[in-house]
Symmetry: C2
Subunit: 343 residues, 2 copies
DNA sequence: GTGAAAGCGCTAACAT
DNA sequence: ATGTTAGCGCTTTCAC
């Protein structure tokens, strides 16, 4: 039934030439009309071309355009870790924003490895990508080389590891970390554990430093044994491992300040495994995964407006006048959830 | 520091011609060597070309290749809903598998809307995509038209809505649904609620029908009032809404069979809101989100090997000999977690 | 084993 | 306002 009644499926041999032929005009005219070059075609001509385009269901070949214009409509998004729901959320948001501008998203997972990131950077140069968005960039040779090129490089969440003032979209991690610490302090939580991802990320570093600073200034410095950052890739494992360590050492604390929601998930699980319940010390995370309301009503979290990232990122891409690179710092907000109970 | 000490950043004006010049051979020869056309170049020539390629850091322009070969190295993945962690997981898996074959993933979110899906299908034709992977296809005009084209169309999770025997990757949803129902029955759960996504998805339909059938055959048919499929887009909302309805009607049940993990999340939340606790009826879902172990120890779930999807999909793409389309049915497995307790 | 040349679809510079 | 043409980078005959 499928094969028999199938459509003709001409496999698009319809080029600009066929449109020109059908409209009875030259190829150049078709190109002008399609690209909306004003004052360059009579109303009549425009109509004829539009008719032909519609009738033939014509759409310019990207290969032809890219070759000629030396740039494609592809925007590369290099994510450090697609398994992290956060990255997926940002990617989704970017995709929507790009679509609006008639751009197309290429998604690559660098797995936080410099070699892979470089491989992708190279591939995207070959693709003549319009821009490259780095969701959690890692320092790599090619990244440095590319920084001077005309291809816009947008850094998201993590600042450019090369240290420049490259275009950036993210939150004020220092302020957010400080806010979280101040909130905890205001609740009388003076013996927190700070559990964090590897400090290679500028975002993580800023959060941890701010929290530590606020606690120190309040007269409750957080000693090294309550600052835990196992060198693992997986955030869940980091949290789990850290709390197991804490428990083994018999260290008690009255709050768990984690630099990511996933870390908090891991931390709480380790606690439950060790003591049979989650205790009364509240958990804090960053990102505020949309699922938190449903499965983690015990977790307070710093909400980051990932849904708004896409627009900010695409803005940055398109406003690349070669002018001073801009930073887009989006607002954060601490979402408080009940400290105990199962929810 | 960034600007001053920056690299030259030549913006890749290095074409095959420059390589040929540097190697002292013709363009054609360079092309042959690069593409590994055997027995077509002396060892000496090959060496010279390789040297030039390396020195110039040359990489063929995809635009040039695509134009000439009338096909690109892009593979489109049209996901019905990127916000669903399941889709993200599959996309991640596909991306890795594609990379191995030197292909590039373009990710598009169709939001389950036919118009958007068609828009993307059109765009991908313009991009001369090597293949199109549909993660949850919806029926749409262009999809039908494209089915006869030479561009491989791979259907994932949901069967081709057009009904043909198109290439497919997924699980045996009928068997999985039956397995779940049989397991519940074996535990003496004879008054289940079946909560499901819209039946427009062939996967959902198969699961629901299988569960209902098994229950009916066991002498415990599930009446309509315990089969709930609110016509909402968001799985969390579906579950939440369904259980609220159940509670309002005073209907009791001894198990919640949900066609997706997210639905189960929503269902349980509604239950907790209504009665203060989650009760003793166990929850069942599909997908087995990796986060379940961490945040939903109360949820039993049908594990689907999403990590293996990528390889299967890419296999299907590349084995497109124009021969009989193949189906890749991957194994499912029910993961049982404690029915009660907080975990 | 190697090179010359045509041509993929498109845009822009230059006619007219 | 419209047409002619060059050329973007590449692969692939076809000659040699």
């Amino acid at each position: 039934m499928t094969r028999k009644g199938g459509n003709p499926a001409p496999d698009q041999p319809v080029s600009i030439a066929s449109v020109a032929r059908r409209a009875g005009v030259s190829i150049a005219t078709v190109s002008r009309v399609i690209n909306g070059i004003a004052n360059k075609a009579s109303a009549d001509t425009v109509a004829k071309v539009r008719e032909a385009v519609a009738a033939l269901d014509y759409r310019p070949s990207s290969a032809g355009q890219s070759l000629r214009q030396r740039k494609s409509r592809l925007v590369a998004v290099l994510a450090a870790n697609m398994a992290n729901p956060t990255m997926a959320a940002i990617a989704a948001s970017v995709e929507v924003a790009l679509r609006e501008k008639d751009l197309v998203m290429v998604l690559c997972d660098t797995h936080d490895k410099p070699e892979l990131q470089d491989e992708y950077l190279k591939e995207m140069r070959a693709q003549q990508a319009r821009a490259i968005v780095l969701l959690g960039a890692v320092a790599s040779p090619l990244l440095a080389a590319l920084r001077g090129s005309t291809t816009p490089l947008i850094f998201v969440n993590r600042l450019d590891p090369g240290g420049g003032a490259s275009p950036f979209v993210g939150i004020d991690n220092d302020a957010a970390g400080a806010d979280m610490a101040r909130h905890a302090l205001s609740r009388g939580l003076v013996r927190p554990a700070i559990i964090h991802a590897p400090l290679t990320s500028s975002a993580t570093r800023a959060r941890v430093e701010a929290m530590a600073r606020v606690y120190a200034e309040a007269g409750h410095p957080v000693p090294p044994e309550r600052r835990l950052g196992p060198p693992l890739r997986d955030h869940l494992a980091i949290g789990h491992h850290a709390v197991r360590l804490l428990v083994e050492q018999g260290l008690s604390c009255d709050a768990y300040l984690c630099t990511g929601d996933l870390i908090a998930f891991g931390a709480r699980k380790a606690l439950v495994e060790a003591r049979g319940d989650a205790g009364s010390a509240p958990f804090f995370g960053f990102d505020d995964n949309p699922l938190n309301d449903w499965v983690a009503p015990w977790l307070s979290s710093m909400r980051i407006p990932y849904a708004a990232y896409g627009e900010a990122i695409v803005d940055l891409i398109l406003s690349e006048n070669g002018e001073a690179p801009r930073q887009r710092i989006l607002p954060h907000a601490l979402v408080i959830r009940p400290a105990a109970g199962e929810g």
